[in-house]
């Protein structure tokens, strides 16, 4: 194993550059959010603000209520959505991975079709508003993201390649029911893939603003991303309205500060950034507690 500890300098450099490419813009955002009013106009973007100022964050705290509420909505939707989504996705994948499941081919095809062809926005909208009547409820934010065909196939592939059928057979010979097999044998063995798909789903729910845009009309149920999107778009539109409709520009409201937007972006990124280290633990754990050891 010793030779594995030597790192290849080329790979290291590539990864350092890659990480920097991700970190530098983030750093820039953080620094802008920490700089004083109009610093951008005065000095432009810089990696170290000439004058530190928490004015943007103070402003956010002063007007905290809508942000906190949208934060709450986002967290609630992400937690519930991810938990339910993992359950549904892995259960479907489990069924599809079983050789003895009668309509395996047909169901797989059905899932596959949803991956290849989308129904389009309008039917999607109509199903949730006219048939399920989910508009302006939290369900409208959760249900559309529950099941992704791509995730189903990833988990199915993991089940078929990494869990030997003999393990399921032996569990059932010992008298375990399907549910017991699924919850006590399969799930604990699948933590790596579940953690990965979980991360997909968390990021998906957390970053989703489009469902809010389409289904939510009351500002009480805006999630954080949509709240930010909205603040940004309102400011941009007001500016473009002044150009396009040739409105007397002076009569329009002053837009929020650039620094404020950056501060909001930082606040929105933090939770996802915090979730990652916790999930990382499971990647390792899932690999080491495998039931069938070599």
């Amino acid at each position: 194993m010793l030779e594995h500890n030597r790192t290849n300098p080329v790979i290291t450099i590539v990864f350092i550059l890659g990480s920097l490419a991700c970190l530098i813009p983030f750093w820039l955002i953080l620094m802008v959010s920490l700089s004083g009013q109009n610093a951008l106009a005065k000095y432009g973007y810089s990696f170290w603000p000439r004058e530190f100022d928490l004015v943007a964050y103070r402003f956010l705290i002063h007007d905290a209520e809508p942000i906190l509420r949208s934060f709450g909505v986002s967290i609630l939707v992400t937690v519930i959505g991810t938990a339910v989504s993992l359950l549904v996705t892995s259960a479907l994948a489990f069924s599809l991975s079983r050789q003895d499941f009668p309509y395996r081919g047909a169901v797989s095809l059905f899932v596959l079709i949803t991956m290849l062809f989308g129904g389009g926005l309008l039917p999607w909208y109509l199903v949730y508003t006219k048939f399920l009547h989910l508009q302006n409820t939290l369900f409208a934010l959760i249900v559309p993201g529950l099941l992704g065909a791509f995730n189903v196939f990833i988990i199915r592939t993991y089940f078929t390649t990494s869990i030997p059928p003999s393990l399921i057979d032996s569990a059932q010979i010992d008298g375990a029911s399907e549910y017991r097999t699924y919850f006590n044998i399969i799930i604990p063995l699948s933590l790596p893939v579940l953690a990965t798909i979980g991360l997909f789903t968390i990021v998906g729910y957390w970053n989703d603003w489009f469902t809010s845009l389409v289904f939510i009309n009351t500002d009480k149920l805006y999630n954080l991303q949509y709240f930010l999107y909205n603040t940004l778009m309102n400011a941009q539109y007001l500016q473009s309205v002044a150009d396009k409709a040739h409105i007397d520009a002076a009569s329009l409201q002053v837009q929020p500060l650039e620094e404020l937007r950056m501060a909001m972006a930082i606040i929105a990124v933090l939770p996802v950034a915090l979730v990652f280290p916790f999930l990382q633990k499971y990647f390792v754990k899932g690999l080491t507690i495998g039931a069938v050891k070599g």
Partner: protein, 552 residues
């Protein structure tokens, strides 16, 4: 078995990198494409129900006019109004106040309103979905830069000619011929909001520096941007940390855009500077006009001399912030405020901007818009084909052109709660701010007859008189093709190709980075290859047909 573990390690690390990739870029791509697909799907799906329902609506309208004739009281009806706006906490209170007022003042109309604002960012998407899914609503705000043409083409809007004749006497008396700007294929689809009919554009300068260097603004009376050069030079030499001139988005775009061309579509239009009377209706390409070359050269020279901002190609440059931060001196080619007795080259104080920036700004108009067709559909109210009672919607719309009280409720909220009158101007109630008053928006330009409005404290109390005076000036020099609307359908593909060439060269030329002597001919060649000539001849054909039909 060792290999299995290694394999799954590889698999999960692959998965992980996938996850990160997806988190980083995947989402953006998806969102974008969903949006595009959405637009297309809507267009196709909407046609079918649109036609069916329009027929139904006409019957409803006829039935209603029958009722009115027989003096039978109208059934109660709720007019749903859709418009873009930010969040207003007290929306419900304002709506109730409007309804109380309607019931009290116009009981015979027996209608209520439901205010249904949509956030700016979601307006296009949501409105599209509401139209396509056949949701019931009545009045909607729209504009030619906000999908008006698409909405007309897919049949989402009702033709209004008969409705406005029957139920819109005040609209007709206020707007008159100006209504024609929203006619498409001979039918009226939108009611123009009565407002200023154009804008002055020109130069806005910092008063502190003008005073400091005793700058004489008289040479600007020529209305030519090149006469600004000595002034910029003074600033450049004496104030090294100040950019002498900044332009909104692109300097050249801004000052060529004002007063050089009668734009028809994209880069194609009538040359306003061509004094030969035979060429009044001759369609040309703006890049080939002498005026464009002249201004492009000027921009390039200014760029080289350091008179204009070098970061014009950076998106999101806010010229006013630069002026506020005292790193810039003049905004060139920007829209100006309408004041009393405007004239080219006549300096005046820019009240609104000065208050906003907290420093004194002087404006010098270099151009005053002619009356353009496009301006007349730049802010409209229309009636949805999903309306159950278009006649009632038109009655309500008509009220906004004559009833200042109703309009004030919509624009400023409830007196005492959301505003207080201070010498006949709108002021915030004691101890309230814009943020906590519960209802504060500047949507005057979205609805009705703006001239009926109050002004806000800090604005010129004579704002609307100035507007009227300004409108007379604009109307007196209306565009030769007023009323003409170009149908872009026959040259759709060419327009896209031409747009692509433009987006490659425009930023460089308009910011002054490219040398027009060298690059402009190259650009024109590429434009021709992209089908520019076809667009020109199509536009010429349509103009000629329009002239023949209208006797011009």
């Amino acid at each position: 078995m060792h290999s299995i573990r290694k394999g799954s390690m590889l698999a999960s690390s692959l998965l992980l990198s996938f996850a990160l990739l997806a988190a980083g870029c995947g989402n953006n791509g998806n969102n974008g494409s969903t949006g595009e697909n959405a637009g297309q799907t809507n267009n196709q799906d909407a046609n079918q129900p649109a036609n069916d329902q329009a027929a139904g609506n006409n019957q409803a309208a006829n039935a209603n006019s029958g009722n009115a004739g027989a003096e039978k009281p109208l059934d109660p009806y709720e007019v749903v109004m859709i418009y873009p706006d930010g969040k207003q906490n007290d929306l419900a209170a304002v709506q109730t106040a409007m309804n109380d007022y309607l019931q009290k003042t116009y009981p015979q109309m027996n209608m209520t309103v439901k205010l249904n604002p949509i956030d700016w960012g979601a307006y296009t998407d949501k409105l599209n979905l509401m139209m396509s899914s056949g949701e019931k609503f009545d009045l909607l705000w729209t504009a030619n830069w906000m999908n008006f043409e698409t909405q007309v083409n897919k049949g989402a809007l009702l033709p209004l000619d008969e409705l406005v004749d029957q139920y819109g006497p005040d609209i007709k008396s206020v707007e008159g011929d100006l209504l024609d700007g929203a006619k498409r294929k001979g039918k009226l689809y939108g009611i123009h909001v009565h407002q200023e009919l154009g804008n002055p554009q020109g130069i806005a300068l910092r008063k502190d520096l003008v005073d400091k260097y005793h700058i004489d603004l008289a040479p600007l009376a020529s209305g030519e941007f090149k006469d600004l050069e000595p002034i910029l030079k003074t600033i450049k030499e004496n104030e090294p940390s100040v950019t002498p001139a900044v332009g909104p988005a692109f300097p050249l775009g801004a000052y060529f855009g004002s007063g050089s061309m009668e734009s028809i579509i994209g880069p194609v239009g009538l040359d306003q500077r061509d004094t030969n009377a035979d060429n009044t209706y001759k369609v040309v390409d703006m890049y080939e006009t002498p005026r464009y070359m002249e201004l492009a050269k000027l921009t390039h020279d200014w760029y080289k001399a350091g008179y204009i901002n070098k970061d014009a190609t950076t998106p999101g440059v806010d010229i006013w912030k630069k002026i506020q931060a005292k790193t810039a001196f003049a905004a060139i080619g920007t829209d100006l405020e309408i004041v009393k007795d405007m004239a080219i080259g006549k300096p005046s104080h820019m009240d609104g901007k000065s208050a906003q920036l907290g420093m004194d700004i002087i404006q010098v108009p270099m151009n005053i818009d002619r009356l353009h067709t496009s301006k007349l559909s730049a802010t409209l109210q229309a009636i949805s084909q999903t309306s159950k009672d278009p006649a009632r919607a038109m009655m309500l719309l008509d009220l906004f052109y004559k009833d200042a009280k109703l309009l004030t409720l919509f624009n400023y909220g409830v007196e005492g709660t959301h505003y207080a009158l201070n010498n006949g101007q709108i002021d915030l109630p004691q101890g309230k701010t814009k943020d906590n008053v519960g209802f504060y928006h500047d949507n005057q330009w979205q609805l009705g007859n703006q001239m009926l409005n109050f002004t806000r404290l800090g604005e010129d109390p004579n704002k609307y008189q100035n507007y009227e005076q300004f409108n007379e000036m604009v109307k007196s020099q209306s565009s030769p093709i007023i009323g003409f609307v170009f149908d872009s359908e026959p040259v759709k593909n060419e327009l896209i190709a031409v747009g692509k060439v433009q987006s490659t060269y425009d930023p460089g030329l308009q910011s002054g980075q490219l040398d027009p002597e060298k690059d402009l001919p190259k650009m024109i060649d590429k434009l021709k290859a992209a089908g520019l000539d076809k667009i020109i001849s199509e536009a010429q054909k349509q103009i000629d047909e329009w002239r023949a039909a209208n006797g011009k």
